[in-house]
Amino acid sequence: AQSVSQHNHHVILSEAASLELGCNYSYGGTVNLFWYVQYPGQHLQLLLKYFSGDPLVKGIKGFEAEFIKSKFSFNLRKPSVQWSDTAEYFCAVTPYEGRDDKIIFGKGTRLHILP
């Protein structure tokens, strides 16, 4: 069965620290990859996505992610975090199966930035 693993359930960092959140998926075919963010009290919104092309994807608020096909990974990075980055981060994968738009979410990583 297809699945998405986010290794870090809860990450605590100080402001200006560098961030990397891990995401691995299990599916052998073509995939589309997403990172969604849920700020406290708000709904989920798209941070960035990989559909095709350059495996290094840049998103909003200085976030980027790199798709490494050989490692089935799509890790999220930010060189210097801010207190406002405190949120829950979800990695998601859509196996490219045409009409079936099944999107599978990871269990999320709660990021807490200390001021």
Binding site: F34, H43, L44, D100, D101, F105, G108, R110
Partner: protein, 115 residues
């Protein structure tokens, strides 16, 4: 303007009752979804509709029945509520499917508590 709206925001009810959650999107999207987010923040897709047609129907109890009167609305009706149904339910919509790289726009969620 709210893109994806859900009502009610909070729903507290007794076991065995029947309840509905409404979702509306004003983005003109063709596809709408229902997700369930449990207490551990695990987000799982339940249903998706494309132009009023059911596309995805994950393994959910048949007490859950989605209804799409038009492509801007996707309501979720739940019969004979059980304690395990307590969760946050998110509605989402997208113009393109996730397998085409489409971004999903999420509603604010409905927190359902079954007593």
């Amino acid at each position: 303007d709210t893109a994806v709206s859900q009502t009610p925001k909070y729903l507290v009810t007794q076991m065995g009752n029947d309840k509905s959650i409404k979702c509306e999107q004003n983005l003109g999207h063709d596809t709408m979804y229902w997700y369930k987010q449990d207490s551990k923040k695990f987000l799982k897709i339940m249903f998706s509709y494309n132009n009023k047609e059911l596309i995805i129907n994950e393994t959910v109890p048949n007490r859950f029945s989605p209804k799409s009167p038009d492509k801007a609305h996707l309501n979720l009706h739940i019969n004979s509520l059980e304690l395990g149904d307590s969760a946050v339910y998110f509605c989402a919509s997208s113009q393109e499917g996730s397998s085409s790289g489409g971004e999903q726009f999420f509603g604010p969620g409905t927190r359902l508590t079954v007593l």
